[in-house]
Structures are given as C-alpha cells and as structure tokens.
C-alpha cells in the first residue's frame, strides 16, 4: 500500500541562527557536559580486585546438586543430555545402590565438556529433580582441553564451593526427588 502523501514529512537541514553561528556558545555547552563528567562519579569496575555483582540467574559453570544426605541428586534420566543442543553432556547410568531407596538409577559417570557447552541453561530447565544447575562462576579457565572436561566429582565440588561461598544457594529446597525418580510400578 503506498504511503499517503499527507503522511510524508520532508525534513530539511535546520537553519543556523545568530546564536549558533557564533560557534562559542555551542562549544561552551559541550564543555559544560564534558567538564561535568570530568569530576562526576566513575563507573569503572576494577575487575580482579572488585568482583562484578552478577544476577542470580547468570548462566556460568554447571554444578551437580547434592541432596540432604550428601548424595548426588541426579537420577540419570538423560533428560539434560537429550535437551542439550551442544551434546556436551555424557552420562553413564547405573542401578542405584540398594540402600538408596528413593530412586532406581544414579549416574556412574557424569561428564560435561565445558568447552562445548553454550551455556544455554536447557539442561537446568529439563532436569526433573533439580540436580543440575548453572552457577554464577564466570572465570572458568584451564591449561588444556582435558582440564575443561568436568567429571562428576568436579561438578559436585562446584556445588560444594558455590554453596559454601554463598554465591549460589540451592534454588530448590523441596528436598524430595520428583516422581520421575520413582521406580516404575510393579507389574
């Protein structure tokens, strides 16, 4: 549909009057702004000394949560690995020890390649038992690719570190595994 001519506004170059043609008032105006900022508060964050305040939903390094008994919460349902668009989660499931009465499986290994991960948070969203969470740890470094592949112990230690430091409290306090962890009904 063509534009109605009444809707078209033709904009021309603004005419400079006496005040603008003197140049100096405009310069003084500019100086007022810049000199004001010269003595104003500074916004620089002195990074290594001054840590940034990150929002609690920041998506940094993963962790595997522990339950009240200190066991890994994960029930090895593979939903995170399935949801992962980068295919960076590798789980080997094993039958849960008989004394773990609330679940039938647990992860024998749980490996996340932190270099392949795109930190989208879909694993966290997919997890039915709130076992995997992204923390606010952002300064993740390593000397080799192998170092950046985190296994179960490492991911659990991330949980211990972040909850201990108080930066990332456990987000769900239900303390109960969800129905997906329950053993299938007996036939």
């Amino acid at each position: 549909m063509p534009l109605a001519e009444s809707d078209v506004r033709w904009v021309g170059e603004p005419k400079l009057g006496f005040w603008e043609q003197l140049y100096l008032p405009a310069v003084v105006d500019g100086l007022k702004t810049t000199v004001g900022h010269l003595f104003g508060p500074k916004r620089t964050e002195q990074y290594p000394e001054q840590e940034p305040k990150l929002p609690p939903n920041y998506r940094g390094v993963h962790r595997l949560n522990r339950d009240e008994a200190g066991r890994v919460k994960c029930v090895a349902c593979y939903m995170c690995a399935t949801a992962c668009p980068a295919h960076c989660i590798d789980i080997v499931a094993a039958p849960a020890p008989p004394e773990w009465t609330d679940r039938e499986k647990y992860p024998e290994t749980f490996v996340i390649d932190e270099l392949r991960c795109i930190y989208c948070g879909m694993c966290e969203e997919a997890c039915p038992v709130d076992a995997i969470e992204l923390t606010t740890l952002y300064d993740l470094t390593g000397l080799s690719r192998e170092q950046m592949v985190f296994d179960k112990e490492k991911l659990l230690s991330v949980f211990d570190t972040t909850t201990g430091a108080g930066t990332d409290p456990v987000r769900t306090r239900a303390g109960r595994l969800s129905p997906s962890s329950e053993p299938p009904p007996a036939r």
Binding site: M1, P2, L3, E5, V8, W10, G12, L16, G17, F18, W19, E20, Q21, L22, L24, V27, G30, L31, T33, T34, V35, H37, L38, F39, G40, P41, K42, R43, T44, Q46
Partner: protein, 412 residues
Amino acid sequence: MPAFDLTTLAIVIVGLMGGVLGVVGYLTLGERKISAWMQDRLGPNRVGPGGLLQPLADGGKFFLKEELIPDHVDRVFYLLAPAVAVITSLLAIAVVPFGGTTPAPDPQPTVAAFDAAQADYRSHFSAVMAPGLDVGVLYVFALGSLAVYAVILAGWSANNKYSLLGALRSSAQIISYEIPLGMSVLGVVLLVGSLNLERIVAWQAPQPDGTHHGWLVLYQPLAFLLFMTAAYAEGSRLPFDLPEAEQELVGGYHTEYSSMKLGLMLMAEYVHLVTAGFIVSILFFGGWSFFGLENAVSDPVWGAVLKAAILIAKMLSYCVFAQVIRWTIPRFRFDQLMNLAWKVMIPLALFNLVCVIVVGQLGWPLVTLTVTSAALFVGAGLASARGSVTNPRRAVPKLPPGLPAGVTYASR
C-alpha cells in the same frame, strides 16, 4: 647577542629537550586520563601509582615493537619523514622563552652604545635557548609550516592511498590555517612593535616607567580566539584532525609507520602542542607575569625558578584545555574546515589587523581594541546568520511529493 658559552648552552639544550619530551610523555597520559574521566572511566592506573609510569611503559613498547618497513615504500623519504617531523618541532622550541627573560635592547645610534647595550643585555639571565633573536615569532611560524613537509613526505613515500589522502588533507589544512595563524598575531606584533618574544613578554609586564599594559588577551581577544583555533588546526588537534581521521583513513599519513618511527610522528604532534602552549602564553597571557606574583621572591635564582614555573603552568593549562576541547568537539567536515578558514577566520583576522592599525594611528586607548574585537565577533555571527557569508542562501529545489526517483514500494 649574549656570549656563546658551550657548556651553559649544552646544559640548557639537554635540560630543555629532556623537559619538553618529559612533558610530552605525560601529555599522552593526561590525554588518556582526561578522555577516561570525561567518559566516566578511570583511565590507565595499573603501571605505577595511579598510572604515573604509563608513559615509560608506552615509550618502552614503541622501542620494543617490530620495526617494519614495507617493501612498497620509497625508503629515503619514508625514513626521512619522522626525522623531519621531530627536528622541525623541536627546533621551534629554541627561541621560546620558558622562564624569566629580559627584553632585548633597542637599536642604538652608535657602535659604542650598541656594545654597551649588548653587554648590559648579556649580564642578565634569559631562560631561552637562543636569546635575543629578533625574528622570534617568524622563526616559530616558519618551522611550524616546515612540519607539513614531514606529513607530505610520510604520506607520499608510504605509497598507500590512506596515507596519501591524509597527507593531502593535511597540506591543504595547514596551508589554509597558516594564514589566520600569522595574521592574528600581526595585531599583537603591531601593538608591541617587535617580533622578539622576550620583548612581547616585557610589554605585558609592568614597565620601568610605571605604566602597565596588562595581558594582550585583553586587547586582542579575537586574535587570541583565531590564533588558538588556527593552532589546533596546525597541530592537527581533534576538531581539525582530518589528516589522521582514524574512522576514515586508518591512521592517516602515518598508516605505514610502526615502532619508534610512529612514536616519533606522534611525539612531534605533542611537541607542537607544547610549543603552541608556550607561544599562546607568551603572546596573549603575559609570559612569566602573573598579577605581581612573579616578584614575590627577591632571590634572583628562586625568582627565575618562579617565573619558569608560572610560564610552564600557563603552558600546561593550555595543553590541558586543548585536550578537554579535543574530547568535547566532534571533527569538522572538510568543507566546513575550509569554510571556517577562508570565509570566517581570514576575513576576521584582516579586519582585526585593520582595527589595530587604525587605533594605533589615531592614538586611541587600547581598550578600543577590546570593543572592536567584540564588535567584529558579533558582526561575523550576524553576517553568517543572515546567510551572506558562510552559507549563502541557495534556492533549494523542492522535491516533488512522493517517492524519490528510482524508489518503488514492493508490490503486495
């Protein structure tokens, strides 16, 4: 001329060059700090306390960088250009007083009187590398315009279109702004009656006969404005930094330079700024005089130190002001740049010169010049606003309503 004493001269030269280059180093830090503060940042603060050793780190970096000479350059001129840049900028310092001075004697009727006057002049201390040079202002301007050779040599020999464009812009700009630069100073020179910088300072200080003219900026404010603007353009400072407009020309005329050769190019620009600071302080702000403060100390040695401190403080405040301006005003477009020089500044400088001549001839009080300067400034604004000079009222063809030619809507 004062006696030629090699040891004293060597000490003065080494001290002054070292001092100027030290100031240049810290001007780079100042530039970065000021720009940072204006943008609500902190600026470099990691090297040394508060970043104070940053210039050393920068200088060391320049020396340690790879010295790259591209294959396609004209080696002779390519290597010559940084040398020319630094030599011309440093040579200009030679006649600039950096502290207390005694005015050079007047011409004398007899040889004996001349010798006596010179002996008297020699017995006073002058904080100048080459004291008593009667063409001081001309010498500074001559070397300032030689600096354009460095830019042109660098741009031409680099065999690179960005360098060449930068050099061409620079030559047009510097040649254009040389005219208002020189003509704005002519008023000062006419008032004082001498080209000698030491005498120009002495004119502004209290006279032996009790009269006191005061700073020349009071009588020549318009000339000061024109001179400062033209000096920014001569030194390619930011409102006029078209020769090295990073957004358009990569690096401008020094695109192909690396390592210390680039360092020399950049250093020369800051030396120009320092020279301009000294010249402005001397021509318009009374040199080492500061409301009688310069006489606060009676000891001759400490008095000389105090005068040098006053002059250097004035120079530094000019440099800081130039940096504040640099981070405040955006770059001119090239046609605006040329308009400003040829249609505004040169006529204004000429009118100002005529006013000085008329006032001097009729023997009117100096305050008249302040009034005429203000009148010229306002008059220029009025003339421009009426569209007669800088933006002539052209009949702008009114576009027909509808779409511009060649543009159609996509059909649905």
